[in-house]
Every structure is written in structure tokens, then in C-alpha cells.
Point group: D3
Chain length 211, copies 6
Amino acid sequence: MKKSNSVLVFGAHPDDLEIGMGGTISRLSKMGFEVIPIIATLPNFTENDTKDERRSESVESSKILGCISPEFLDLSPTQMIFNRKLVSLVDKLIKKYQPESVFTQWIGDSHQDHQILTKSVMSASRDIDNLYMYETTIPGGLTEISFKPQLYVDITTDIDTKKNALTCFKSQFVRCGQYWLDAIVGRSSYRGYQIHTKYAEAFEIIKTIKF
Amino acid sequence: MKKSNSVLVFGAHPDDLEIGMGGTISRLSKMGFEVIPIIATLPNFTENDTKDERRSESVESSKILGCISPEFLDLSPTQMIFNRKLVSLVDKLIKKYQPESVFTQWIGDSHQDHQILTKSVMSASRDIDNLYMYETTIPGGLTEISFKPQLYVDITTDIDTKKNALTCFKSQFVRCGQYWLDAIVGRSSYRGYQIHTKYAEAFEIIKTIKF
Amino acid sequence: MKKSNSVLVFGAHPDDLEIGMGGTISRLSKMGFEVIPIIATLPNFTENDTKDERRSESVESSKILGCISPEFLDLSPTQMIFNRKLVSLVDKLIKKYQPESVFTQWIGDSHQDHQILTKSVMSASRDIDNLYMYETTIPGGLTEISFKPQLYVDITTDIDTKKNALTCFKSQFVRCGQYWLDAIVGRSSYRGYQIHTKYAEAFEIIKTIKF
Amino acid sequence: MKKSNSVLVFGAHPDDLEIGMGGTISRLSKMGFEVIPIIATLPNFTENDTKDERRSESVESSKILGCISPEFLDLSPTQMIFNRKLVSLVDKLIKKYQPESVFTQWIGDSHQDHQILTKSVMSASRDIDNLYMYETTIPGGLTEISFKPQLYVDITTDIDTKKNALTCFKSQFVRCGQYWLDAIVGRSSYRGYQIHTKYAEAFEIIKTIKF
Amino acid sequence: MKKSNSVLVFGAHPDDLEIGMGGTISRLSKMGFEVIPIIATLPNFTENDTKDERRSESVESSKILGCISPEFLDLSPTQMIFNRKLVSLVDKLIKKYQPESVFTQWIGDSHQDHQILTKSVMSASRDIDNLYMYETTIPGGLTEISFKPQLYVDITTDIDTKKNALTCFKSQFVRCGQYWLDAIVGRSSYRGYQIHTKYAEAFEIIKTIKF
Amino acid sequence: MKKSNSVLVFGAHPDDLEIGMGGTISRLSKMGFEVIPIIATLPNFTENDTKDERRSESVESSKILGCISPEFLDLSPTQMIFNRKLVSLVDKLIKKYQPESVFTQWIGDSHQDHQILTKSVMSASRDIDNLYMYETTIPGGLTEISFKPQLYVDITTDIDTKKNALTCFKSQFVRCGQYWLDAIVGRSSYRGYQIHTKYAEAFEIIKTIKF
């Protein structure tokens, strides 16, 4: 596959990307990579929010992160099944963008959409050089497997951008409150400390090609 | 083994306990458990600090956490080998205190002392009902295995005590600076969020008996 | 989530609960917990048995164990797919009962219904404090992963109740014979020995909150 | 289950069997086992190839390996879902042939069809004595888990037969070229070296009964 | 390595072999294999028992199992360290007997002697075709890893021999009582049920060569 | 730690580096990295070979690979123990060279020296940005864990250099013969195919920092 400078970033829901790798998206964008967010579904978390609100939150956040607006697949719950149909859809995106790297959610999070999306991205990424899973943070989303931090990205110069992007998601603030933001920033401090810097984001690696 | 209300907490070095489970020690002490810290070695991290300084930092921290002063084994590096001798030493402590729970460091941290101590504690804890490993935070201490958070303790009411205890370790502040504290508190926010509270500490479980 | 004293126990089929944790259900019921069995499907194992027979076996067994009658979801095979629909169904049960603990089958058993049910229970249990998987026993049901016993419940005073509950499943006796019962009691002896008692049941822990 | 001398070998696609265990099929056939290849789907990889071409490639290859012609299930992509329907289909094959051993693809390959087929074979193999997964080789098909070689079969006397069988798949040669064959033979050299022979094939074991 | 019909069975302590694979030793002996037990250490569990008593218990048990008397290495605790010296010692035994199979204790048991012996046996078995780990049963001997049953041996016709061999270890009966025997037989029922028989022993496989 | 352009490569024995990552050493050297091989021990495999012969084989191979001559630690077997002493020795090398990357042997190989060296390198690499384990190939060196290929280096232009370097180890040729070389090259074909190239080497990642 011909290499491009684009990077595909998959998230089942709006704000998944910002939580997991908002700092890295900002950093990659500054470095000149074309980061393309792909959002699989547009759920309504509270009775009052609508798909359009969630979509425009995501668009606003992308501007802050410095990347293009997300591609919204707007899949219905019945379309979120691990089979050839969903894999083909991801296949087409990968053929279209020929990314140099693909990021997706950690396979071990308990949310069914996260697992199914990631399994599909893995299946479709057989010709991709670099495939990473970002760390998910939902309350209580534990399963029988555990996250293995392997790739660290220093986001010390991007932490404010990450915070600003997260504050776009007003519907999440209503649901989760301030301690949602504290937890995400807190985790960045922790991951930063592991590589002797102030803030970092961590990823589990499926494969990477180097040198 | 007759049950007592004592809890043994093993750390290879001074401050390992506070970093990993200072909040939980505070909480257990308030609940009436007799928490007994056991410190295996007394290293000199900088040229200027002495064993005595590190010992008194630990004693001061224990007072803040509300537990008794640590038992210092003061093992030399050549004594830190996984064999019957070290296991027997831990054995004696367990026979002496007959603890209802034992906490030790996560086996997957890269530090040789942490691994060797924990292997010895596991060997000696065959008759113990509850055996947990706390989350270690040293910069870069990664190995081929990953931490699996399973037991969560809500330390929201104990976070200030934990911070105060950590500030006793002046020699660490010199070495690591403020971002050391931020990383530890940050991780507590992250672990707290996973159980819908502000601050928590997480543990991997070897075994527990309930009901 | 407000805590109640109810405990949800999920099984794909009638008798899965009794095999895996009949002793623990009895014990929890005696302790005052409201144990609520949820049975996902009602298969016909032999040509002669009917859904009604299997249902009444389960009701009879519940009486012996001291818990309320199971809630039968009566899902058809085509409904046993890991997707949002099945997760939503479990979600509703969890919202309805607000359990203090949830038990489900071990994820590593080879039966498709066991795996799919447990994946759905994990997804729906993001706000649950205590989530455990009980040990499954079907002949030959091995996969690429292995059961990790972590939580032990002493059922020495409940082993006869467990045996009596198991004998309610006459259709299983026809299929499996006496050595079915011997295997289940035998495993309890083995698990008991590991914690210095006569009989125990073992569970793998997804998460638990303590202190 | 009554033992026969038949061996069932499952592959999602034509040539999966030859890549993973062509040498072992040849060897087992020579030893007198009745090896029965089961091919789940018949994909068209290039625009020009047809299902009939792929089917006849497989039939030709079987002749070279010395086993009977494959049973083609010809499942459509929408039928490749891990549920009772697919498991029942495999169940029937197992009841029909009562095999002494079952081989299927490694569960950790990224291809959705490989994973779904193997999960179904595991579910259906609860009464089977010997269940093995062969090593898959597709470019880039990596996931979060890793292959564990445990069973080795010496195929030094069968390597030429394996090569000849692989050359039947003309459509694959067009797609992958000579280095496809080199990779497969190369892996056999590597696996052979691990058991002190020239060529071998390796398998991960789910279960086996011996003595 | 030239194949012989001998089978080496390693145990750190007297009675480890009988607990883990007494039935299989009996079965292999009946089948004509020369089973050679190797006992690494001779501990004194109670104040009154002596090394000689423990040695003669082992010899008596071997007679019942139908194999030759164990080779007692009589290593002191300080010799039980994972290094070249211990590996060389095992190396010599393997060169001497050239066994067709080697059995050792499960690596995941918490006992330091079990782990160290097994690591040494693995290192020394690089030229061995078949290497298995038997299931250990000590009370509470849990670690961070879990046993993976893969090889099953049907010991229905050997269960009484196994029980008789176990009763030779009078010092263990004093320490552990009748429920020790019940646990071991109970586990055999459970393992038997998994392969549709009355009694079985289970092993984790490091490697095996077949066909 | 200040970054340099040096790369430390640890091997327990002469030729371990060449087998595992000879192509990558050649490639890194061409790219301008200063690759520094560290050889821990100098064993005598056959009665006739001497330490000096093995040392000069290594020196000759380094010339072919384009890197500097190895630093020979010449540790005796009794010094190969995982403790502070060995870790301190590795510590000093890391402080001396301040490498941008460290490569060591895969932790899961059965050889005691490989395991002990790698554990020590992990302990000493807490401040290192990039830590990788190369794939080991000794006959039969299997343990309970499995290699996870994650980092791939394309060595198509370096395969001949790798082969030439390997032929320096005349003592190994005497021991292992031609099929030793075929196995190593064969594995490179297999790893190459996984990333759509002719030859590659694969590594398991402990940690890496990027962007």
C-alpha cells in the first residue's frame, strides 16, 4: 500500500477520540499529519440531546484539535455486529485514505460498540504498517483482560488543547460532571510520569514498522 | 489460621506503600484495622541521603497515615534473592501477625526488588485469606506483563492524608519534583472515575475470601 | 447507583447456576441477600423434555436454594447475539434490581450462549460494584483461555443444599448420570482444600469494591 | 463418542488448510487417517476468479495431499456470525464424521471469518478428544493475542507435497507472488529447527487425550 | 536425542508426584514405560519427621504405583536457586535417561521450590519431545497466573492405586487430614467429567510431538 | 536522559544477536546509529572450542554487520543471577552509552541465561525510551509463554549481510549444521511476508516513545 501522511482515528462515539488521544491528535496535526476522525455511531445519552448536537460538538472539537471534521458513519445499533459487512465498510475507508497509521479503541473495554468496532478495524488493517489502540476511560468498563501501555506520546504541549476539546462535549459534562475531566487529565499526569514528562497518552500496540 | 484484625503491607523501599496505597492504609486505620508496614530495604538514592533519613521519613509518614511505625527488615542487596531464606523471613512475619489481609507490590513492575519481594510474599501467603498487589508507579518500570485493576478502594476522604504522607519523603521530592505528586494524585483521579468517585486506589487480586 | 441488598445471578441455561454457584446462592440467601436468578434460554436437551419441564425444575431448585424463582428471559437462539439489543435487555434488569453484586458465567467456556451472555452482562455492568464469573462445568468445554480462581466462598454448610438443588434437574441426570454430580461435588472439595475448608466454590473477579 | 479414524480439518477459505497444515494432512493421510477438509466460504479475491475456479483448485490440492475432496459449506458472508446456527452446522459435521481429531484455524488471526469459524468449531467440539489450531499466515493479520506453538508435526518427508498442493492455488499466486510460497516454506524450516528436524508445522493445543 | 521408553517425573518434594499425577504414573508403568521419579528436596514438615521417614514413604509409594524407586537429589534450600548449577544437574539426568517424555510441576504454583525446579527443568529440556506440567494442589498456593488444562489422562482404572500411594505419606495425613485425600480425588472426578470419564488427571503442555 | 544515537543490543551468548536481529543491526548501522553489542557470557559448547575462538567469531561478525566490536562482560555462570549486582552492571552500561534504544532477548525463551539477562536489562532500562525484545531461536526452547511479534523491521536489503555474519560462527555450524541457517532465513521470510516484504525481523515491544 502506497504510504500517505494521513492517520485514521476510529471511535465508536463522539468524544471517545478526545478522551483517549486528544493530545496526540493535536500533536500529529501540528506535525503535519492529516488526521481523519471516523465516528461510528451517534447515540443519544440523555433524553434531550439529539444526534445533531452530538455531531456539532464533535465538529467543534476537531477544529480545536487542528484536524479535519470527522467522517460520521452514523451506524445504527443493529449495524454494530462483527461481520463482513462492518469490516467491508472499514476496508473502504482504509482504501480511500491509505493511512500511514491507524488508531482505534482498546479491545478490552466492556462497551460492546468499542469491542465490535475494534475487531472490525483489526480485520481491515491487514495491510496497515502501524496499528495502535488508545486507552479508553469509561466508568467501570472492566473486562477479563487488562490494558498494556506500550507506546507513549508526550502531550505536555498539547494538554490545554486536549482539555479545550473535551469541554466541547457539553452533554457529557451534564452526565459526568467535572470529575470526568479531572480523571482524564489525571491519567495523563500518570502516563506522563512513566516517561519522565508532565503529560502523556498511552497506547497498546498491535503492530508497528520502524527503521 | 486464626483471624486477627491486622493487615500486613509489604514494600521493598520506603515510600512504595504511600505511592501505591497510602489512601487505603489511612482508610483501613480509621476503620480499626491494625496496619503493619514492612519495609524490606533502605536504599540511598542520592549521595547525601542516609538510611537513617529514609527510615525517619517512613516513620513520620506512618504517623500521618494513622498506622504503627514500619518494621524495617534492612535487607542488603545480596539478601534480595527469591529463595527459601527470604520466604522464611516473610513466613515468620505472617506467623507473628496472623493478618486478615496481605498487600504487596505488583509483580509486573520492572524493579528487581519489587519482583523478588512479591514472589516471596506470595510463597509465604499460602494460608492467608486475602492477598492483593498494589499499583506501582516508578517512571518507565514496564515489563512484558500488564497491571489488571480488580479491587478498588474509594479514598476520596483520604486523598489529603495520602498527599501529606507523600510529602514526608523529602529525598524523593529532590529526585522527582512536583510532577511525582501530580502523577500519583492524577492516577487516583483516574481510578476514582472508574468507580464513579473522585479518588480511588486499584489493586490486582491474587485471592480473596468472601461471604 | 443506589445500593440494594439484591444479587443478580445470570445463567444461559437452567442448572448453570446450580452447577457453578449453588452453594453460594444458598449461603447468600441465608445471609439475607435477595438472590435473583436470571435464566436466558430454555433449551430442550432430549427429545422428550419440554421447556415447561426445564422451567419447573429451575423453580423447584430455587426453593431448595432459598432464593426467589428465576426470571426466565426465554430468548430464542437467534436472539443470542452480542449486540446492543441483548445488552439493553440486561441493562434493564440491572436498572430494575440495582444489585450490589452481579454473578455471571466464566467467559472462557466454549459454549456460545455462555460467552455471549457474559459479554452482554459485562457491557451492562459498568455501574456495578462487584462483578464475578462462576466456574463452569460442561464436559470438554475448553477454549484458548483458562479459568483463574480468585474469589473463594466457603460452602461447607451448604453442600447438601447444593446437591439437593442439582437433583432437581432430572433431565440432566438422564443425560449425564451420577458422575455429573460426583464431578461437581469433587470440584467443591478441591476448591475447599485450596482455602483449608471442606467445600468451596471459586470465582474469577472482574471487579470488586471493598473497605 | 465412538472413535473413528477420521480427522476433520476446518478452513474458512480454500488454501487456508494447505498453508497451515498441508504437510500434516499429507502425513496423516499416509498414516491411514481419513482426513476430511471442510471449507466454509468461497470468496472471490480478484474480479476474474469465480467460485468454481476456487473450488476446483481445492479439489486438485486435496488429491495431491492424499485426502478426500473438501466438503464445501459455501456460506455467505451474512451466515458467518458466531451464533447457534453456525455452531449447529458444525455440530452436524462432527456427529456425522465422529472424528478422532479436529483441526481449525488459530483464533488470534485478524480475519473475521477465521475467528468466527474457530469459535464455532470450539463450541461444537465439546465431545472431541483432540482439538488443535493451526498457524495462520496472512500478511499483517495481527491482533492483541499471540500464537503459542505447542504441538509440532515433523513434515520433512511431506514438504514437497505441501509445496505442490500450494501451487494449485493459481489465483493466490497472482495475488501474492512467489514470496508467498517462500514465507510458508520458510516458516516450516523455522518450526522444524525448533524440534531438530528440517521441516515442521506447529499447532496451538486446546485439548488432547493421551495414554 | 535417541528415544527411549523412559519417562522422567520431577517433584520438588515427596508426594508432589502422587498428588499431581499418581494415576498417570500407574498407567504409564502398566503400559511398559519406565517411569523415573526425581525428588529434589526432603523437607521436614513437622518437628518429629525425619528425612529418612519421608524418603521411605516415597519408596513405598513408588512400589504401589509400579515404578522404580525415586532418585533423591536431596538438595538443600540454598541449592534451590534458578541458575546454571541447578540446570546442569537436571541436564545430567536428562542425558542419562534420554526420556521420551518429561513431567514437572505447574510453573504457576506459589511455592518457591516448585517454581525454581520447573524453570530448571524447562531450561534443561530443550531437546525433549514431550514436556508437560502437572496440576499442583497445595492449599492456597495461588499466584498471578492460572493453570490451563490441556492434556487429559483417563485414570479411572488407576484411581485406587493413586489413593493407596497417597496413603503412604503418613506425615501429610497428620498435617492435612482426610480432606486432603478428598480434595485430590475430588479434583480427579472433576477432570474426569471434562473428558466424559470418571477420573482423570490434567496437565498443561509446554510442547509435544505427534504423528 | 540525554538522547544519543547509540543503540545497545544485549545477548547472553555470542551469535544470539545475529540470530535474532543481525539484519536490524546491519540496517541501523547503515542509518548512522552506533550499535553497541554487549555479550554477557562466553560458553564453550563443544570440548574443543575456547572462549577466545568464540570471542573472535563475534568480533568478525560485528565487522560484517557494520557495528563496533562487542563489549564482552565474560560473566561466569555463578554471576548470572537476577539480583541487584547484575542489574547494577547493566545500569552502568546504560549510563555510559545513554542509548536511544535498547534491544534484548525475548523473556520467554527457556534458556536460564536469556531470562536472567533480560530481566536485568528490563530493571536497568527504566529511563530508556525504546525497549524491544528480539525473537530467539534455539531448538526446543519453549516455555509457558509465547512470543508476540509487534515491531517489524524490513531487512530485505540486509539478509545477505545477516547470513554472512552467521557464517562466522563456525562452532555453531559444527553443532547445528546447515539447517540452522535455513531456519533463521526461513523465519525472516515468514516475518517478511507478514509485512508484505521479502525478509523481516520481528520484536516484542516493552515500550516505545513516538511523535
